[in-house]
Amino acid sequence: MTVPRGLIAGAGLAILFIAGALLSFLWTPYDILTLSIPDRLQPPSAAHWLGTDHLGRDMLSMVMMGARTSIAVALLAVGIGMGLGVPLGLWAAARRGSLLDEVIMRGNDLIFAFPSLVIAILITAVFGAGAMNAIIAIGIFNIPVFARLTRGAALSFWARDFILAARVSGKSPARISVEHILPNIANLMIVQGTIQFSLGILAEAALSYIGLGAQPPMASWGRMLADAQTLVSIAPHVALVPGFAIILLVLGLNLMGDGLRDMLDPRIRVARV
């Protein structure tokens, strides 16, 4: 089994950001809660590697703190999607053609009619803005992604003879789903999980950009971009730095997902929506 180059590059990028996010719990170059107006909008320098923002805060420290928010939100959202979507998909597949299957799948279709942004709008309108909204909104949208994928993959296994052999051995559909089907679709879920993780980063950035996600003082890349919007012509780095942070992390995760797929099973088909 050779490791694809894209996987190494992608994993390298992802690990860089995750390490930065973890490091921010212990140390950042500057304290982002300390404002220093005289130092504002400085371009990158030896003192501030990525420059400073409109309030004089160190951009590198902000990017590290923002990585924390992005990664946490996206990871939890994938957790919600997988945690609910995979069992639902397995259940639907085990009872294929039944009313239950129909209800689960139509429910999925319905959620697909609510883009995560719309869910976030609804939640915010009712409960107010916050990072939790982003997690729930993105997480809910991930459920049908995993449920459909799981059901489709599980159905292809239900048609195989080894499942019939397990049934002849008296095993229940639930047991077969856990013992035979889940291990065989695990690769697919890992690959799709990576892709949803990267989509979660993008969605979190968009939500906090329009003010429906993380609220100050929590740092977030989307908020950094929202702050940068009116300053982009004076100090382009305030927009470029968080933008590139998002692009590099998402690119890294996507390369990782594609690489994992190539390594684990080239036949896996990833849904990228």
Binding site: R106, A113, L117, I121, A206, Y209, N254, V273
Partner: protein, 315 residues
Amino acid sequence: MIRYTATRLISLCISLIVASLVIFTVVEVFPGDPAAYMLGVNAQPDTVAALRAELGLDMSRPARYLAWVSGMVQGDFGQSYTYRTPVSQMIMDRIWVSLPLALFALVLTVLIAFPAGIYAASRRGGAGDIGVMGATQLGVAIPNFWFAMILVLIFAIHLRWFSAGGFPGWDKGLWPGIKALILPAVALALPQAAILSRVMRSSLLDMLGEDFIRTARAKGLSRRQALWRHALRNAMIPVLTIIGLQFSFLLAGGIVIEQVFFLPGLGRLIFQAISARDLIVVESVVMLLVFLVIVVNFAVDIAYAAVDPRLRVRR
């Protein structure tokens, strides 16, 4: 075909009913009393009661739901709590920005993705394929609103080809309106086009591995002919699914992009409504967005049957 359309139509209606129930429940049942919100904590109880009566909040919830739905069917979305103007009027003013933007972006997405995906698939493993795939890998990673900011920086601020934002209104003529939407549509479309190109390519490659392509080649078709005549139409089935999903992303993404370009679309309306706690507006706009998504997915289902004869008889 008629039966297929009929079943899809029924499923469309059910989706709409369930969606409206979900939205109504979330917005009207959870947050308490909009009248009290609007008047503030110091309001007199009788003022609140009067407002409640005026807004129809004194009815039972099922009655309110029915009134809301039957109103919507007739094009009456109720009165804005804040502005006291018909919500339908507010929506109509905005939708002629948001909908053209989403459709414009959808057209751009398809116009970019189809040639790119077909080109990459027909040159599988070659330099052209690797180039397109690299570009799409990057395109998928770029947040559309950031890309929009960069476009503004380059084309509006530095080159001054476009204005940095705002919308002149369609009454100023077709071209000024379209011109104002070009940058937003490009920003929305490019990341989605990257996704669709990849789907197009992989779907085509799947089809090129099918037995019927070998049959076509045995008839004397060249690779290119086999791709255009046999693989493409079969490959459209998964591509249509993605296009349907992408429409909802373009519509929702438009809300974000409108913020970058200060466009007076549904996005602006909804954010004003959220900050003013004008729940009836939020509810109506969300319902409208969901309605559009469901209708587009219905159209995709019908398109499936046009592409795939197997669907016309089954289901």
